[in-house]
């Protein structure tokens, strides 16, 4: 069931995760305002004046709630109590608050790293991306390595962006069966790996698992 716009909670409205930092909240606020403000082309003629006013006031309220630590906490509690979202979000937020400064920096670095990789891939264009993926349905570590290299992404960068240990990454790319992590971890590693390189997650995970089976 798709939620109606009116029914979106503040996080859904801002399209941010429940654990979003106040930096992310501000960023999202800026973006959504750009879409719904009076002068925006993107919503030109779509709403009546009243409808627009209502949307803008909801956005304003959402913003004022999400940047205020106290208000946000009670909003989160209300969301959980109403059963709309699982309790995990509270834990997620609590943990976020607790992380010492150097970890925040790391999280930032991780984000910017990802952005850099994305940019690289974008510049490479879609042709390279497509051409490497057309071979059969089995994907070996070597295939992944070639793919990564053809996109101009270093293993180090994948590590920075995914935090998968370099040894595990190395084992994956060398098809080093004995040193591969257990399957559940392997699956989640492959998923992150694929996501970072903007590959089709299902194809990569299934293709690689087939490759492991064969060996």
């Amino acid at each position: 069931m798709i939620k109606k716009f009116e029914d979106l909670n503040y996080y859904e409205l801002f399209q941010i995760p429940y654990g979003a930092s106040s930096f992310e909240v501000r960023q999202a606020y800026k973006n959504i305002l750009a879409i719904y403000e009076e002068t925006s082309l993107a919503t030109y003629s779509l709403f009546t004046e009243d409808e627009r006013r209502e949307i803008l006031s909801k956005i304003e309220k959402a913003f004022l709630t999400l940047i205020d630590e106290q208000k946000r906490t009670s909003y989160d509690n209300a969301l959980v109590n109403s059963g709309e979202v699982p309790e995990d979000i509270l834990i997620e937020r609590a943990q976020k608050k607790a992380i010492p400064i150097f970890q925040i920096n790391q999280a930032r670095a991780r984000g910017s790293n990802l952005a850099r990789i994305r940019k690289k891939i974008q510049e490479k264009g879609t042709r390279e991306r497509a051409s490497v993926m057309v071979k059969g349905d089995v994907i070996s570590g070597n295939d992944l390595k070639n793919l990564r290299e053809s996109l101009g992404v270093e293993l180090e960068e994948v590590f920075q962006a995914t935090k998968i240990s370099p040894t595990a990454l190395d084992a994956i790319e060398r098809d080093d069966i004995t040193n591969l992590p257990p399957t559940i971890y392997l699956k989640s590693f492959l998923k992150s790996y694929a996501e970072v390189l903007q590959l089709d997650v299902k194809t990569v995970v299934e293709g690689y698992l087939k490759n492991v089976e064969k060996q």
Binding site: A34, I35, L41, A42, S45, L46, G125, R127
Partner: protein
């Protein structure tokens, strides 16, 4: 695998025919067998954009039952692998097709043996245009970054949804429901197709859901044409975001195509723009788009309006 794309978008002159032709040329150059179907009946001009003379045969022959096999009307162009089914001979009256003729034509289009079938539509939201737009499981819609075009675009999309809904109601003998409910509205008209869906779901939850699913399954891909530097950089993404939030989440942004005054010059000189100015930003934008379309991805199942 066969792909059918309709190219529409409400606003006249937004570049639908230019884009249909250009994508057709580029896909053909990739070695795909491509057919352009000129469905702007009564105002067709794809042959002009391809720098060709007025074709001798066209859709009118199929509609008049002179030619049984639509494929026979696909004429080669100066581009290898690219074929054109013209409609220059279709008079304005043909634009008012009988429903049965239209159903036949739509099913013949679906059966055309080509890798890519591109349907060029006329402007506006006439129900024939909407029905042709609905032939393809995925519709490309072309907008330009101006308030007037944006307005027409939203209007076009809503009209597509409403048309789909009306056809489904007729086919399931539920047309009377529509009449009854419209009569109940104090405004006398619907605010949006979603309002009708809500009414239907409330009245008959099970069937209503089915109707809603029909609409959800329509896929739209937005192209922003005549893009210029001073336009909000991510307008396309914003538009798609808005559609996904306020209509149904079936919208995807295909990309911008840069404005270039030489497009006009090429058309006037009856040159194929892509051939004449292959190193422009506009052509590279079109190329990126053609590649995106050929990336292997499943097209949703066909959504014929017939039967």
């Amino acid at each position: 695998m066969k792909r059918i794309y309709s190219i529409g978008g409400g606003k006249g002159g937004s570049g639908k025919s230019f884009i249909a032709t250009s994508l057709g040329v580029l896909l053909a150059k990739q070695g795909k067998r491509v057919v352009l179907v000129d469905l702007d009946l009564g105002a067709s001009n794809l042959h002009t954009l391809l720098g060709q003379k007025i074709p001798q045969k066209g859709l009118d022959a199929f509609i008049d039952k002179e030619t049984r096999n639509l494929e026979d009307l696909a004429l080669p162009t100066t581009i290898p692998n690219l074929y054109l089914i013209s409609s220059t001979k279709c008079s304005l009256e043909i634009a008012n097709l009988f429903y049965a003729q239209k159903v036949k034509l739509i099913s013949a289009i679906n059966d055309l043996p080509f890798d890519y079938i591109l349907l060029d539509l006329g402007p506006g939201t006439h129900f024939n245009t909407l029905d042709f737009f609905l032939v393809a499981p995925e519709g490309l819609f072309v907008a330009t970054p101006e308030p007037t075009a944006i307005e027409n675009t939203f209007n076009f999309i809503k009209s597509v949804y409403l048309r789909k809904l009306k056809l489904a109601l007729k086919q399931t003998n539920m047309w009377y429901v529509f009449k009854e409910e419209i009569a109940k509205l104090s405004r006398g008209t619907l605010k949006s197709p979603m309002e009708l869906v809500d009414i239907l779901v409330k009245r008959e939850p099970e069937k209503g859901k089915l109707f809603e699913d029909l609409l959800k399954r329509l896929k739209f891909k937005l192209i922003l044409n005549k893009f210029r530097g001073q336009v909000t950089e991510n307008l396309g993404e914003q538009l798609v975001d808005v559609c996904n939030r306020h209509l149904y989440p079936s919208f995807e942004f295909l990309g911008n195509i840069s404005y270039d005054s030489r497009v006009y010059e090429a058309i006037v000189a009856r040159h194929i723009f892509i051939r004449k100015y292959p190193y422009t930003k506009t052509v590279s934008d079109l190329q990126t788009m053609a590649r995106t379309l050929t990336e292997k991805r499943q097209q949703p199942a066909e959504l014929r309006i017939s039967r």
